[in-house]
């Protein structure tokens, strides 16, 4: 530790050279000064993800039922997670499942069929073509996985922005509450009782991810071994191509990104029909996609009002 005696010694030397005040300085015996600095000192974890290059992860929720491969389901939850390590900022951009887009496997259809038709790679390619984002990794979970994940974590603490009733009858009052795995699934699936339907649902899915990030950050700060609990529970309940060492790096990085530096928004478009089905026509070019593709995040001030439906 820095030594206070060094200061006293330098002062003595200076005074000696000047020929002034030596007696005064020597009146305070060096032996009465603590040699080692006492008090508190701290060294904090240093996330190893560096640089200005953003990292992009495609976060998907499949509606595949138990016993069915995740990649055979329809994608009811599609989010771009962009992380900029240098800026210590991130964004979650939800893409409505009814977005009517060209599929990487051919033809134009609702984006949520891209997973079932082309697997994870087909879904990734479809979203890349749509947004201009190049993904580093993907994560997929299903109904069972999401339920088990949040149950294993002891629930998820979330601030619900407005009261609504879930599609299975669960009441979600406005305010902070802890959701079980089953409640978290219902929270993220409900759309018919929400003012803006699928747009609001996508927003709520982003809220759930943000709540999980907030909870992880708090637990990790309190107890660093929580990192392993989150990784172990996560890896047991999702399918992903994120290597374990990269997952650790991302976890360290996310632990230093405050929730207020993560923006949650939805890519909205106009409602239309195709073949009798309700669809969403996204604008092209899309300023939200362009913004997040550029550096991994969208600043709150740059979020168009319509891209943050219902709060």
């Amino acid at each position: 530790m820095m030594r206070r005696r060094v200061v006293a010694t330098l002062a003595s030397l200076a005074a000696g050279v000047a020929g002034l005040g030596v007696a005064t300085l020597q009146a305070t015996p060096a032996a009465s000064v603590p040699l080692l600095q006492i008090g508190k000192a701290h060294a904090e974890f240093d996330p190893s993800l560096k640089g200005n290059r953003p990292v992009f992860i495609l976060v998907l929720g499949s509606d595949s039922r138990p016993g069915t491969p995740l990649e055979r389901g329809l994608c009811d939850s599609i989010h771009i997670l962009g992380i900029n390590p240098k800026a210590k900022r991130a964004s979650l951009v939800g893409i409505p499942r009814d977005s009517y887009v060209p599929l990487s496997t051919g033809g134009t259809n609702k984006i949520n069929v891209a997973l079932a038709q082309g697997g994870a790679q087909g879904m990734i390619k479809t979203v890349e073509n749509l947004t201009g984002v190049r993904f580093d990794y993907y994560v997929i979970t299903g109904f069972d996985g999401l339920t088990r994940l949040f149950d294993a974590l002891g629930g998820v603490r979330i601030d619900v922005p407005y009261s609504f009733e879930g599609h299975e009858g669960t009441s979600f009052p406005q305010g902070k509450q802890t959701l079980s795995g089953g409640q978290a699934l219902e929270f993220s699936r409900t759309r018919k009782t929400l003012a803006h339907g699928d747009f609001d649902r996508s927003m709520n899915q982003g809220r759930l991810l943000l709540a999980a990030l907030t909870q992880f950050k708090a637990e990790f700060r309190r107890d660093p071994t929580a990192l392993f609990k989150w990784i172990a529970v996560g890896m047991r309940n999702v399918a992903t191509d994120v290597p374990l060492n990269e997952l650790l790096t991302l976890a360290f990085t996310s632990s230093v990104i405050g929730p207020k530096r993560v923006t949650n928004l939805v890519a909205v478009g106009s409602i239309g029909t195709a073949g009798g089905a309700s669809i969403v026509n996204l604008p092209s070019p899309n300023p939200v996609f362009q913004d997040v593709a550029a550096d991994g995040y969208v600043l709150p001030k740059d979020i168009p009002a319509e891209n943050a439906p219902s709060g």
Binding site: M1, M2, R3, R5, V6, A30, A31, S32, V33, P34, L35, L36, Q37, I38, G39, K40, A41, H42, A43, E44, F45, D46, S48, P224, T225, L227, F228, K229, I231, A232, M235, R236, L244, N245, L248, F252
Partner: protein, 198 residues
């Protein structure tokens, strides 16, 4: 005659003890008390089934942590020059550890300031994250270390170091790649007046 004593002393102490030794002194080794060692599997394997895997990793991790605190605090020969301690850090963490010398060690001026380090003690718990083959991938070591640094001015500082160290295997040895450490060193209570004549 003097020369004989000098040479004899040199041979007797293996050349490690200064001939005019008014320098610091301390115990010759340090060992943490090892508490709980547990596995955190990313597979569906129940953690109790990986107890032996975690224990085996824990042995190597304990060796690294024992060595770190020995070199950083207990070993008088290392005081002021903590290269052997910093060698236990991997990659960018080593550079960072060197910058955190005041938090991670007894300090760069310990050799000048400290007479002896007494009653070093510490406890260690370990959690091991295993990979998809249930092999150790990384670990976190939680340590609490206490000691009394008796200074050359005859005051005593109670050293307290509480840390979380993330380790991974590098060339067969466990090395630290991330850490968070809190120091809370306090002046020990001064001994009561001896009543010696003024």
């Amino acid at each position: 005659m003097v020369a004989v004593l000098v040479i004899g002393g040199f041979l007797l102490f293996g050349g490690k003890t200064p001939l005019t030794d008014n320098g610091p002194s301390g115990p010759g080794a340090f060992s943490f008390h090892l508490g709980n060692v547990q596995a955190a599997p990313i597979t569906d394997t129940p953690p109790p089934e990986l107890k032996d895997t975690a224990r085996e990793a824990g042995t190597g991790i304990k060796e690294t942590m024992d060595e770190l605190y020995f070199r950083a605090f207990v070993d008088t020969d290392s005081w002021g020059d903590y290269g052997a301690a910093f060698d236990l850090f991997d990659g960018a963490a080593k550079t960072r550890a060197e910058a955190d010398i005041d938090v991670l060690t007894l300090g760069s001026t310990a050799k000048d300031d400290v007479e002896a380090l007494k009653t070093p003690s510490g406890s260690l718990t370990i959690s091991v994250l295993t990979d998809k083959k249930d092999a150790p991938f990384t670990a976190v070591a939680e340590v609490q270390f206490l000691a009394d640094a008796e200074q050359k001015d005859h005051t005593t500082i109670q050293i307290s170091s509480i840390g979380s160290f993330f380790l991974r295997q590098v060339d067969g040895a466990w090395r630290i790649y991330a850490y968070r450490v809190d120091r809370d060193d306090q002046a020990a209570e001064a001994p009561s007046p001896s009543g010696s004549p003024s």
